[in-house]
Amino acid sequence: MNLKTCVLGLAMTVTAYVPMAMAHAHPKVMLPAADSAGPAPAKVVVTFSEPVEAKFSSLALTDEKGTTVGTEKSAGVAGDPKTLTLAVPKLTPGDYLVHWVSVAPDGHKMQGEYKFTVK
């Protein structure tokens, strides 16, 4: 552990801003996995690092041209407040981007995207 890490640890301890640091739900498990290549999935599943407000969180899929794929909306999973799923039509080979938006129970919003390839 270097000096910078020690100082940051002390700062977080005294000011207790670690909860704030982690107060954002980010993707922890993605199916298909980020930057993976494989067969076409029937759905995209993202499990976040903490529970998300399903009403304000979403997944969307676009192809190489940036065109939205499918018409389904993403949904939460009953009994698993950390996971969102998005049913997708049969995907043709190519690169796809998953755009995710998460709103944590404290109202903090995050968004991002990751790529996967269908062979």
Binding site: L8, M12, T13, V14, T15, A16, H24, F56
Partner: protein, 290 residues
């Protein structure tokens, strides 16, 4: 239409006002327990609690607007209004309601004259409820209600408010007292209260850190957020240094000169506390990934 910058400013302002007001209300309530203040100060302390609680209640609708804008991306009143119901159905949204209610009850109890004991009890119960709801409004909420994490957050919030609020209230109180022995007695109560609060802040902060980073402090390095945290820490350390100076001053004979010195350093510490609370509100609005 609200720009991203205006939204951030509104968020910081609403959080900052609520944090300062919460600290003032707990600081004033704690001053009642010292039993060293003349009875004439009761009215002033109740008035301070009442006004601070009113500010907290008034900050909740503003926080709802900011929260709705942040969660939905809506930027105009016409876009925001239809979204309120959905936002209030989320944890972050609904928890604003009991906070507003508890703050309004605390204000009512503090501002409407009633027997002292009853008034103090009602204020204390309302502020206790407010503190519980405030601790459930942050990240600790992700573990669900009534969790160990919320308990640690509650201890941290209350201890921080008592430390900051005690200093803010005392900076004004001690300056208005004429009797040096009375000033000294109140200064000693504040010193003991602050020391206890700081111990609790460090213990609960350590626990929060342990749980929160999940062994990955490195992951939060190299961000603007860390820079802001560093600035805040420097103010916290300066406040601790001034607190230590006050403690040394209180170990000396209570003379007019030493009490004047105590009053000056206490005011400087109070100014630092205001900056720390505002920086906290700013930190609460910034993503650590930024």
């Amino acid at each position: 239409m609200l720009s991203e910058g205006q939204l951030l400013a509104l968020h910081v302002l609403a959080n900052g006002v609520a944090d300062v007001a919460f600290s003032l209300s707990l600081g004033a309530l704690a001053a009642f327990t010292w039993k060293t203040l003349p009875a004439a100060y009761d009215r002033k302390l109740f008035l301070l609690i009442g006004l601070a609680a009113l500010l907290i209640a008034a900050a909740q609708p503003v926080q709802l607007v900011v929260l709705t804008a942040g969660m939905t991306g809506a930027a105009s009143v016409a876009e925001l209004t239809p979204q309120f119901r959905d936002v209030l159905s989320t944890h972050a949204g609904w928890i604003l309601l009991p906070q507003a209610l508890a703050a309004a009850l605390a204000a009512t109890a503090a501002l409407i004259p009633s027997p002292r004991r009853l008034r103090l009890t009602l204020v204390a119960v309302s502020l206790l409820a407010l503190s519980v709801f405030r601790s459930a409004s942050g990240h600790a909420a992700s573990d669900g209600n009534y969790s160990l994490r919320e308990l640690a957050q509650w201890i941290h919030l209350v201890a921080t408010a008592v430390w900051a609020g005690g200093v803010l209230v005392s900076a004004r109180l001690l300056a208005s007292l004429r009797d040096t022995r009375l000033q000294h007695a109140n200064g000693e109560r504040l010193s003991l209260q602050s020391t206890t609060a700081i111990v609790l802040i460090v213990l609960s902060g350590t626990w929060n850190t342990w749980v929160g980073v999940d062994g990955d402090i490195q992951g939060t390095l190299h961000t603007r957020w860390v820079l802001l945290l560093g600035i805040k820490l420097s103010f916290v350390l300066a406040a601790l240094a001034l607190g230590a100076t006050n403690r040394r001053t209180l170990q000396q004979q209570p003379t007019e000169q030493t009490m004047r010195r105590l009053s000056v350093t206490l005011r400087a510490e109070a100014a630092l506390m205001l900056v720390i609370l505002l920086l906290s509100a700013w930190l609460a609005s910034v993503s650590p990934a930024a």
